[in-house]
Symmetry: C2
Subunit: 594 residues, 2 copies
């Protein structure tokens, strides 16, 4: 039997190991033949070590080494020797030494890979990378991300354990729920015609665990949604899911902030401080047009309605009459934005329904704009002052129904930040968004609908509004936002059955509907439910931010593509007839072509 039991990894040996007899095993990263010598860069995930085969020492090894090709797996027993002067490679941790071969074995050969493993600078088609994911991981980039992911999972578990949270695994074979996104179904063989469903989240289980008295629960949970995939979605994804009893936002938030600080410090050397900033949903929409503002750059919006009202600019005046606002923001140094670029920005916001974009350039020579003529000078001055503009800056102004205005200006603001390199990629700006609306108006059914879910507690100060003005009632839901991404979302839950009944009444649900839609869970709430609240982190998203990629597939070992297929395994795939017979199901197309 070949001995391949290494004494060191390929990243371990240093100058002070010179003279040691060692054994390394790994992959042939590169072979170089130089004046009779054969150099092998031997690789494992820990590093590279240079192996030297001299024709004189062991001619048989030298001969065998001459056949080595990339990705063959070999084991080498050898002596650590210093590299010759001038041959030292300071960019390699093992760059001061090399290995003189004493014994040598080929463990396994390798076909030529479909893409280079050793060349870092090539771009490989993603479909090909996914098909040969095992080779893609071997290239190193995904490996590094998987190591960060492992580290972050372990940190999370240890941190939450120290905070008194218990990790509890909840079922994957669950029950289909008519709420939310589309479920993946699993036909039951024992109960033909019945189905399990994969969980979209452990929401009901975590609330049940609070009813169980588990007090503080968490889980790094796999969740499933059968949705058409966007770039940053996967059919199966991961959440850090947690819930606590007898707590409030004031006790929960510091715990969660500590978790983020721990992960970002340990995995990325980013020092954040607690407490994180807080902003109400209302303020976020007002100042940034979004409930997940990126705080790494400025350009906050300002309500200019009162100023515009005194102008003679009929477009704004008309919008104001319709009850819409005029908003504007200042682009520092924005006088360099050309008319052509402004036109491009106008096209951008048009996609979101904004009809036009007004602008004022504060040049050395004075304000330039097509609209300044509608503003008397003192009015213009107060406008400039309101948005905090100075000479050299540009002001964008717009008016539209609230939703259009928010969306358009949010996109414009982020677009400008990217274009003008205003984003410091080394900054990590956490932000709590609180006080989300409890309800939204569903125009189709002409009734209230939940913004979050029907178990979310109203804001304690707004319970009186449930009777008078429910659409104005705030909820006790909150999000954690990081650099413009929602990284976590949660809420205080209703624990009082009278309040729960009131919410159902407002949602115009009959007892039958309540039972059908929420069934046993409503029953469970009646046996002594403690106040509880919780939250779920989108763990894949966090990993994307942490490892600086926009591609969710980069942070998952074996992802699906955007058509929910596993290109490596060829899944999904056809089932065997016997399997379907046992499950007592037919497939339509088969039926129809019979």
């Amino acid at each position: 039997m070949v001995d391949y039991q290494r004494t060191h990894t390929c990243g371990a040996l240093r100058k002070n190991d010179v003279g040691s007899e060692i054994r390394l095993s790994g992959w042939v990263h590169r072979r170089r033949d130089h004046g009779g010598l054969i150099f092998i860069d031997l690789r494992d995930r820990y590093g590279l070590t240079q192996i030297v085969f001299r024709p004189t020492d062991h001619p048989e090894f030298h001969e065998k080494a001459s056949h080595l090709r990339g990705e063959w797996v070999i084991s080498v027993k050898g002596k650590v020797i210093p590299r010759a002067e001038g041959m030292i490679n300071p960019s390699l941790k093992t760059g001061e030494i090399e290995i003189e071969v004493l014994e040598f074995a080929i463990l396994s050969q390798a076909k030529t890979p479909p893409f280079s493993i050793c060349d870092e600078n090539i771009t490989v088609n993603e479909e090909l990378r996914l098909k040969y994911r095992y080779l893609d991981i071997r290239r190193g980039d995904v490996t590094k991300r998987l190591l960060v992911r492992h580290r972050a999972m372990l940190l999370t578990r240890n941190y939450l354990d120290k905070q008194g949270f218990t990790e509890i695994t909840t079922p994957i074979l669950g029950k289909s729920s008519p709420e939310g996104a589309r479920d993946y179904l699993i036909p039951s063989r024992i109960y033909p015609g019945s189905f399990y469903a994969l969980p979209q989240a452990p929401q009901i289980f975590k609330q049940l665990l609070m009813i169980s008295g588990m007090d503080r629960y968490f889980q790094i949970a796999t969740c499933f949604r059968d949705e058409d995939l966007r770039a940053d979605r996967q059919p199966e994804f991961t959440q850090i899911d947690l819930e606590m009893s007898f707590g409030t936002q004031e006790t929960l938030f510091p715990i969660l902030e500590g978790l983020m600080i721990e992960i970002f410090n340990n995995c990325k050397g980013i020092k954040s401080t607690s407490p994180f900033r807080h902003m109400t949903y209302h303020d976020a929409m007002d100042k940034y047009g979004t409930d997940k503002p990126d705080l790494r750059f400025g350009m906050e919006f300002h309500d200019l309605s009162d100023i515009a009202e005194k102008s003679t600019f009929s477009i704004f005046l008309d919008e104001l009459k319709r009850g819409n606002k005029v908003k504007g923001f200042c682009v520092k140094g924005g006088t360099d934005i050309s008319r052509k670029m402004i036109d491009e920005h106008t096209l951008l916001v048009k996609k979101f329904g904004l009809q036009g974009l007004a602008w004022i350039k504060l040049k050395e020579s004075g304000p330039t704009s097509t609209i300044t003529k509608f503003f008397e000078e003192p009015l213009l001055d107060s406008l400039i002052k309101r948005v905090g503009a100075e000479t050299g800056d540009l002001i964008f102004l717009a008016s539209a129904p609230d939703k259009i205005l928010c969306q358009s200006l949010d996109h414009l603001r982020r677009h400008l930040a990217n274009k003008r390199n205003l984003i410091d990629p080394t900054r990590f700006e956490f932000l709590w968004i609180t006080d989300f609306p409890l309800f939204q108006w569903d125009a189709e059914s002409q009734s209230l609908a939940c913004e979050h879910n029907p178990f979310t507690s109203p804001h304690p100060d707004d319970i009186h509004l449930l009777d008078t003005d429910p659409l104005s009632a705030r909820s006790a839901a909150y999000d954690l936002v990081l650099n413009g991404y929602e990284v976590a979302s949660g809420a205080c839950r209703i624990y009082d059955s009278a309040l729960q009944d009131k919410i159902f009444t407002l949602l115009k649900l009959t007892p039958e509907e309540i039972n059908e839609r929420f069934g046993f869970f409503i029953e469970a709430l009646k046996y002594g439910t403690p106040p509880h609240l919780g939250l779920a982190f989108g763990f894949d998203r966090l990993m994307m931010i942490l490892t600086e990629t926009d591609n969710i597939r980069d942070v998952i070992a074996f992802p699906k593509n955007q058509q929910a297929a596993d290109l490596m395994m060829s899944a999904p795939s056809e089932a065997q007839k016997e399997q379907l017979t046992e499950l007592k199901i037919h497939i339509h197309d088969q039926e129809e072509t019979k």
Copy 2:
């Protein structure tokens, strides 16, 4: 808003907290009215604290408290006071103090539970416990097990991390494999007629991760099998799955032993020492008739064929002529076993095909038996000596084809150990079983079949037997056994494609069959596969042993019953028509009744 933010849990307060103002929140465990005073045992998962309501102090609280019922959730602000002399409860950690109420709020009421939460000594029907699992957990027994489970998972993760293993989550939406048990299938909406399958184990993924160069992988993985359930099976179950590259059994076993020692020491205070005992499969079958012997008691079997051959006992002589063995073992002090009990034991082994059970009692007056007459005295002496029997002992003897003999004597040995209280429940005897057979003979197809899987490496010393006597070849597979249970199973894998081809040839698989059954994985093995080996622990089984229960459902938060149903959620359940339409599947019965 009611303040329910506790300062302490219900298990925290001690005598030296006397005088402090505190707030507790929890469930009403019991209410006792005593001479005008109302005592509430307030409970959370950390303990019980006694609350006293005096009619004089706050009459309104006293009045409200008189309405409290079991499982209502309340919050109490109060002062810690010492209990009166004679009222101290030494069995309660908080038994020296009680709480004088300053403020008091009812947070939520509770319906009368379907079974008592506070009475520990009642037995509740398991179906009812599963239906109201959230209340069952609240009773405490399951809670304690879930806390041990959490502790064991965390210890596992930290331990394996320290050993250089990376936790990597592998897909739940996988591909159906014709090998092994029955798969759960998931119809794909995007690819009608195609199905994902839930993984029975991450076997292929972990081998791919070794091919990827991840070096050391682990995962606490949820696995799925659609099998008819035995008492200790669940449709979804948990494995500690791991794999390492460039290692051998000599490097892997100590790592795994360290993990077991860590878990059993931390969760149970059991000190085990490494290395664990080793036994070959051959020796285990020979001495114990099973590949998972319980070593907490003796009664090893002895081959008595050579002695029986010299006897005149025709039953044994006939069996020996058929090539079968005669085996026997000694029951210490077994002369107290009555003829009636021997008859019962004979009935027991009959279930496993053994026709009869011979016995010899070594009484003070000399050996008694119906068969001693067939053995001359020196022969009997050597038999007695062989099995290690002394005066007062009983010897059981039997002969049959190997499989029957092993099964029968194994069951008899364990039955006797139970009956005679030979098992020390505080002992934890780990044992490695190695050198399993590589193949078994499949009588139906008249060909070799794998004992483990076709990727399991032959024992390095037996590779020559592949050509000459493959059924005698041992594999490099191994099990970890604990107190008669298989707790882990693993193997060294084949990494050499020539050897892999040879195994496939022996299994009479054509290239087409290989491709269909193992597909892309065989391709993956060709791109530079390192030597690798691994193992999977049955985590639920481990938790059962650790928390001393025979019921797998006791160690899972929300288990299925033995008909694979979740009685709490009523899963599986009917799907909505629209869901099936989208998935393009019909259900047979619906079809047939149309």
